[in-house]
Amino acid sequence: MNLPNFDSVQVGDMLPPLQKPPITRHTLALFCGASNDHNPIHVDIDFARAAGMPDVFAHGMLSMAYLGQLLTHWVPQSALRSFAVRFSSITQLKDSITCQGRITEKFVDNGEHRARIELKAVNQDNDVKLIGEAVVALGH
């Protein structure tokens, strides 16, 4: 995979969006095992209710992994410099996450040409679930 070129990338450009399928209980069971996050609140409805939640809900890190895929579809992972998110609302069962990225800045740091990307994970109603930012290296 080649790096996008600094001169061909413009502030305001959107990354190709990534649409994920609806989150099911099965999705959460698989991610529980695969991610080592065994917190029962994501897979055990009895535990979730006892904790005051109406049902189990998705791991924030599942959607962050989706945003990671958005990034690595655009640049090889070796170009990632930083990747940060805020989990702004809970992702519920049946939510379909779409990952979006928009270039907000082009700059040179330590002699390296880089871009700052604003990240968003939204559900089917366009409710923002994660908001964040990544810095990636670009070709020059």
Partner: protein, 146 residues
Amino acid sequence: MIDRKFIGHRFAPSSVEVEKGQLKFFALATGTTDPVYFDEAAARQAGHPALPAPPTFAFSLGLAKPDPFDWIKELDIDLGRVLHGEQKFEYFGQIYAGDVITLQAEVVDIYDKKNGALEFLVQRTTVTNQRQELVGVMTSSTVVRN
């Protein structure tokens, strides 16, 4: 309330081998379509020595211990009241299948909002490989609903 004396507290480090089977399982669980993350031949063709760990996988390595929530108990927090608030990764190198990764976490801040109704615990974790190379730093903010 979380005792503020824990600011600066360093947890016991953990070391974990990155298993290729788990990387493949993580790729499956997250619906990964790029074969570099689950097909070793594709990874090698892309110039990797082994399957690469995806960008957020270091967080999972931090949970790979007999009791992944031991720190929550150590700080006397109720697991059912915990939410993940923020997560950041800084990258200095790549983690691969077969690496042995050491994670060292430290509490860097504890603060509250809404008169203590919400508390925030900020941890910074260094991620180092078997060659003592710092491959990343993770910063996590955990929210406790009091």
